[in-house]
Structure formats: structure tokens, C-alpha cells
Symmetry: C2
Subunit: 446 residues, 2 copies
């Protein structure tokens, strides 16, 4: 996220943490180079367009703790980091709620051109009321209605990306004086409840046309949406049991939509604290924990669940949960160990390092064992690694864990050529025929 404190509330205060430099272009160039050195598929940039103001009914705690505020535009980082790398992909969160799809589709096509096909889009429908209010709305649109709206938003984008410019439309023929063949450029003629977009896409086809599509919804409606549209899914679960169920549900949803379930890659949130010895790693974790800000963690938790945690004392036991978002979040704890009672402080500290996902602590071999086990036991495809300290966490993974995984034959030893989609799936730079984007495109061309 283009901010100071992302998933590790309070850790920006650690002497070695660099995340306070988020507004410095060199900070991002350094990060991109570390990840490319470690052969990471991509860098995922989350985003919110609002502030966490549920805690204490004010943004004060968020501001004090830099808890996802200030938060700069993530898309602007992509061309910067693309200029410093050759292979690294970029998955960026953009909400369908706050921009018209016509300029948005142009922006993504532009990024796909400028990155030479390394852009991905994490489709979100947003969750902070504060964002909606600053766009002139009273609150969020209802959860399921947001998915209806997102369906139409995607349809407009798909028509523009996949349907407007036929393959071969661009001739670039200096001698004949013809850049594009107008007969092969189609107006999309979209008319729907939310959008009316009669014209052509403003961009010629980019390497991938449609960016690699990411999604992260864990609700029933979210999983159906992912099954239909997503090529990659981000999940977060504290236990293999919960994760196995997620993976199963998402693949089943894809099957129901007529898609090949093995063609959806599922990445789980995962935090690594690694050192040469187990003792050193455990000391590191203890040091990190001492920098967790309980206030900042509860600020995030309040935003995610909609429950204001400010009135509760740190030693209060979390006995019940008041709404759906809170329930799905707090099930994380109870499911992992149903007999244990959690205090507010313990929940905050647990969120503080690793969020809803597991934390692997130990030597490179121990961490690699745990990663292999999670992959093998759950059907997961890979990990969405969080950082505790910027950029130390990723440096330690690249230097210690990646070589261990390579020795075991569980990690690539070089990048393959091509776009992000080709790197992730092999095969084509463009979406396959069964994907709804390609079908929407075909409908435009008639």
C-alpha cells in the first residue's frame, strides 16, 4: 500500500523500518529491485480511498499511528517501478465504486502498454464508509448491490479492452499512411442501468488487453464473483482447515461458471520472520511484537469490522460479535482454538503481526517446511507475503527463504519471458475463450 503503516500497525516506529519513506520514489525502486532479485511474480498494492475513523468515531487514532493514512495513489507507483525492473508484475487495487469505467479502462490499458504487459487489477467494491462520504454519498452502497454494480463496471471494461479494437486493426503503415483500419475498430454501444458508453476504446490493444484480474472477496457473493471473473484470488485464513475450505469453494465456484478451476491461482496471506537460527528468529519476532501499537491495530480492526473497539478495555474478553463482517473476522480466532478466550489486547497483538494469516518463524528450512506444508495440505497455489519491516522482511525472504525453496525445487530459478499472464499461467498473453471478458468482447464485434 502506498502508505506508512499497512498490515503491521505500529511497526513503522521500529528503528530499522523504512516505511516512513513511502513518499520517496527511491523507496519504491529499492523495493521493486529486491523483489525482482528474488524472482517474485509480482508486487501487490492494496488501497483504500478513505480513513479508518470507526475507532473512537474519529480519524485521530489512525493519524497518530499512520494506520493506512496518509495513503497515496498506488497506480502512480507502477510506471516508476516498471522503469526499474523487467519482469516484476504489478497487481493494484482499484475500486469500481469511485471512477467511471471509461477513463479507468484507458488508464489500465496505458499501464499495460508502459509495463509491457505486467499489470494486474485487484477488483474491489470498497468497504470504508468514509470513502463513500467524501465522494458525496451518505454511506456505502449495500454489499450485494455493490457486486451488481461491479458486474456492469466489468462488462464496460471488457467490451472496451476485448471488443473495441480487433486484432489487426492497427497497421502502423507509414508508406500507406494508415495507422489503424477504422473498419476494425468498433463502438461498444453499452447501455446499462449504471453506465452508458456508446463509443470506441481510446487505446489500441495492449499486450494483455485485459489486465490480470485479481480478487479478494471472502463472502459468498465475493466467491461467486471470483469464480466468474478472477484469475488470481487473495485469501487470508489463520488455519489450514479454513483455508482448505476457501480454496475448495473458489474452485467449485469457477467450475459452476464453466471455467477450468485449475486456471485460478489462489494466494494466501503469509508472514515470514526468518533468521539463520530459530532462536534468532524468535528474538526477532519478540522485538517486532514489542513495537505493535494496540491502538493502531484496533483502529484497523474497527474499520474492517465496523465495530468501534475504543470503548473496550484491553483486558475485556471478546465474547460475541455484532455483525457479519465482525463475525467472519473473529471466527479466525475462535476456529484456530475454539476453547481459548481472547482479550481485546490479544486480538490486537495477533492482528499486529501477520493479520489474519499464519506467521512462519524460524530458520529458512523451517519456514520452507511450513510453506510446503500449507501448499500441500490446502491446494493453495502460492503466497501473498506481507512485510513486518520495510524492506527488511522482503530482503530476508529473498536472501534466505528463496534459495532454500529453490534447492527443494519448489521455486523457479529464473523468470520466463512474456507478460504477467504468461508468467503466471504459461500459454497466452490474453485471456482464454471461456472467460466472460472475451465473450463480452466477441459480442461487441458481432
Amino acid at each position: 500500500m502506498n502508505c506508512v503503516g499497512h498490515q503491521a500497525p505500529g511497526l513503522w516506529t521500529h528503528p530499522r523500518d523504512q516505511s516512513w519513506r513511502y513518499q520517496d520514489p527511491d523507496y519504491w525502486i529499492e523495493l521493486a529491485r529486491i523483489l525482482e532479485r528474488g524472482l517474485f511474480d509480482g508486487l501487490f498494492l492494496a488501497d483504500v480511498l478513505g480513513v479508518y475513523d470507526v475507532f473512537g468515531e474519529s480519524p485521530a487514532a489512525a493519524l497518530r499511528n499512520a494506520a493506512q493514512i496518509p495513503v497515496n495513489d498506488p497506480l502512480m507507483l507502477v510506471p516508476l517501478m516498471a522503469g526499474a525492473t523487467r519482469h516484476l508484475g504489478f497487481g493494484v487495487t482499484c475500486s469500481v465504486s469511485y471512477e467511471h469505467p471509461y477513463p479507468f479502462a484507458r488508464r489500465m490499458s496505458t499501464l499495460d502498454h508502459l509495463t509491457r504487459g505486467r499489470i494486474g487489477w485487484n477488483i474491489v467494491t470498497s468497504y470504508l464508509d468514509s470513502a463513500a462520504r467524501n465522494m458525496g454519498l451518505d454511506r456505502q452502497v449495500g454489499h450485494d448491490d455493490r457486486y451488481e454494480f461491479a458486474e456492469e463496471y466489468l462488462e464496460v471494461c471488457y467490451k472496451l479492452w476485448e471488443g473495441s479494437w480487433k486484432s489487426g486493426a492497427v497497421r502502423r503503415d507509414k508508406t500507406a499512411g494508415i495507422f489503424a483500419d477504422p473498419a476494425k475498430v468498433h463502438a461498444i454501444g453499452h447501455e446499462g442501468p449504471a453506465f452508458r458508453v456508446p463509443g470506441i476504446h481510446l487505446c489500441e490493444p495492449s499486450p494483455q488487453r485485459t489486465p490480470v484480474l485479481y480478487q479478494a472477496g471472502a463472502s459468498r457473493r465475493g466467491k461467486a464473483f471470483a469464480g466468474k471473473h478472477a484469475e488470481c484470488v487473495f485469501v487470508a485464513a489463520p488455519s489450514q482447515k479454513i483455508l482448505r475450505q476457501y480454496v475448495h469453494d473458489i474452485r467449485q465456484s469457477a467450475t459452476e461458471q464453466g471455467r477450468d478451476p485449475s486456471q485460478i491461482l489462489i494466494f494466501a496471506m503469509f508472514t515470514i520472520v526468518v533468521d539463520e537460527t530459530e532462536d534468532a528468529a524468535r528474538r526477532k519476532l519478540a522485538d517486532f511484537r514489542s513495537h505493535v501499537s494496540v491502538e493502531a491495530a484496533l483502529t484497523l480492526l474497527s474499520g474492517w469490522t465496523g465495530i468501534d473497539f475504543a470503548p473496550y478495555r484491553p483486558d475485556d474478553v471478546v465474547r460475541y460479535i455484532e455483525n457479519d463482517a465482525g463475525r467472519s473476522f473473529l471466527e479466525s480466532f475462535t476456529t484456530a482454538d475454539p476453547d481459548r478466550l481472547w482479550t481485546v489486547r490479544e486480538v490486537a497483538e495477533w492482528v499486529g503481526i501477520g493479520g489474519r494469516g499464519p506467521v512462519a518463524v524460524g530458520t529458512p528450512a523451517q519456514v520452507a517446511d511450513m510453506m510446503e506444508d500449507w501448499i500441500d495440505q490446502t491446494g493453495l497455489d502460492g503466497f501473498n507475503l506481507t512485510y513486518v519491516l520495510a524492506h527488511e522482511t522482503f530482503e530476508s525472504i529473498v536472501d534466505l527463504v528463496v534459495p532454500e525453496l529453490q534447492r527443494r525445487g519448489r521455486y523457479k530459478t529464473s523468470y520466463s519471458d512474456g507478460t504477467l499472464r504468461e508468467k503466471l499461467f504459461g500459454g497466452n498473453a490474453r485471456l482464454g475463450e471461456t472467460h466472460p471478458a472475451v465473450r463480452a468482447g466477441a459480442a461487441v464485434r458481432g
Copy 2:
């Protein structure tokens, strides 16, 4: 502009022209480095969010000729080029008509951070009906209403940039665990006819806070808007007489708004065709003219004026003009030489090289003479140089004209330090107290 054919219709077909590479990141990095080598203040990126479909009532001619279509997002180029330069400024056209000011203000703050204070914003209200239609509107909002709307749009941005975060709000204090002081971060509480934005700005103050403000409106309402808001104004006029009047009107408008008229920089569109000898330069121009596409020029002209030139034959004489935009455009020709009759083809060819501005052809000394004369006779501050061939035009200016101007003491010999605003005006990175942005900001803080 992030496109193939910008101001020189047809010239993309010239064997030496590189503009067909507009979607290649290296194309832009090369350009940025050429301009920085030449100590240019900045690079100005124009934009439209639509297609020129007035000519022949179809986008076909525009597509055939790459006449400002395809057209990619200009903002994405800024971080890319900023990463390859240290001093070059970036002025980017963004329309107030197509995006909510809340995310827009964040995007500009982000760019100001990432460029370390080198961002400028060319405020436009848009002119293509095709853009409005694809945003779900039937046509453009009326011209003067667009300026009312733009006033409120700016007010929201000003409050966010100048008023929300007080100086000193950000403490970045790891020891105390305080990133920002919430008492110094203000909700802007904006309620207006078009926008309701209650909250705080999502970004901490960037080096310039408000980007350097550019404007290009030549209408009466446009000049009043420029006098109130603009720090830099782009103009285009074919004669010194017309230009002198523009410069006078804009400075007078600034005076009427209580601003120091010398603190507005006015840049005129200007095209340079230079070579070691006058003969060589004239041969170059003739070669360039032979690549002008009359169809492409008329496509642009039709879009600018709203008059469909497709039904007219190339030898038809342009006798009268049917609307305001057409009149102000075609006055360009008649004023320069009131007794001459222009054919459609001649107008197109004139537009083809240099647009509405003068074309300086000759040796470095001749070109420099003409530039000095235009500056001295009109009260102009500088030039907005167009290219005929990408990037040859700018390379020839940097290699031949810049040294000549430096010898004459009319051009800087090195960059000064600081932000774009400091480079342009000396003094402060931030706007002065008399600017309406600063007044809007002060009102937020109470």
C-alpha cells in the same frame, strides 16, 4: 500528448518520426532526457478523453491518421519520466469534467511527492462532445457553466491541498510513536452545488501542496479564470498583434483579481525548424510539409471548431464561419493577412505545421532572433514548443538553438534547485498568500 499524431497531422508517416513508439516506455524516457539536457523548464502533456469524430460524423479519419487517437493516459508517464530525470517539470492536462475531485486531489499530491515537487496541472474543462457521451452525458455542459463547475472543483482541491493538513501536522516521531498530530489535520467540510466532501485530505502535504497551475482558455470567461487561478498560461496566436492583446488581457485580468500580473508566466505555442544553414532548414520544412495529411488536419480542425469540413472540397474558399469556436480559430488566418483568401487545403496545410502559432525556420541565429523579437514585442514570458518530428525537433532545438540563446544571455545555463514552482518563479515552493488556493486553505483551518 500520449499519442501518435499530436499537433503535426500526418507527420507520423515521416521516415524519421518516432511517435508511433508512444506506447514504449523508452520513448518517453528518451524524450525526458533530451529535454533535461536542454534545461527545459518542463514537459507539457496535453490530453483529450474523446475522439475527433466531427469530421465526416465518424472517428474513421481520426483512426486512419492516428489523429490524437489512440490516446493513452498522460499521468502515467510522469512517474516514469520523473524516475529518469532530476529537474524537468511536468505539466499535465486533466479535465475537471470527468473525475471526482477527491481521488483527483490525491493523485496530484501523490505525483507531487514522487516527483519531489515537479508536477503542474493544466486545468481544462474539455471540449469534445464524444468524451461527454462516453461518460454517460448527452453532450458537453455549456461553456460558461463548465467554468462555474470548475470553480467549485478547484475550491475542493484547494481546501484539500492547502487547508486540510497544517504545516507541522506530520511529526514522523518514531520515539514518541506519533506520526501525525490529529489536532493539526482538519476536515474540510465542503458542501457545494456539485460536490460534498466532508473529510480530510488523504495525503500529507507535498513539496508544492498545490501543483503549479496552468491554464489555456482564450475565451473571455477563460481569461478571467486564468487571471484568478493560473500561474502559467498557454496561448496560441499567429501574429504578434493578437498575442500582445492576449498577454495584455490576461495580465489585466490578474490585476482585477488582486494578483501581481508579473507573477503569471505566459507561454506561446511556437514551432522551430532549424538547421545549420537557412537553405537546409527550408528544405527540411518543405520535406515536412509534404508529409502533412490534409484529412488529418481537417479532422483536428473539425473537432476544434465543431464544423464538419468533410463535405468541402480542398479548393473551396473559406468565406465565413458558423460558430464562436470556428470564428476564433479562423480569425487566426484572416488577421495575419486580411486580404488573402484561404482554401480549405491551405488552412489544413497551415494547421499541419505549427498549428495556430508561428513557425520559425532558419539557422540557430535566425530562430533565436525571431524568439527574442516575439518575447520583446509581446510581453510574453516564454514558449510552448511543439514538435514536428519526435524526437528530432527537440533534439535539434537542444543542440542548436539552446546554445545560441545561452550565448546571448537569454537562456539559463543550469537548473536552479527546488520545485517546479521555485524554478519558474524563484521564491517559495508554495503558492503566495494572495492566491485563492491559499485563501481557501486558510478558511478551512479557521
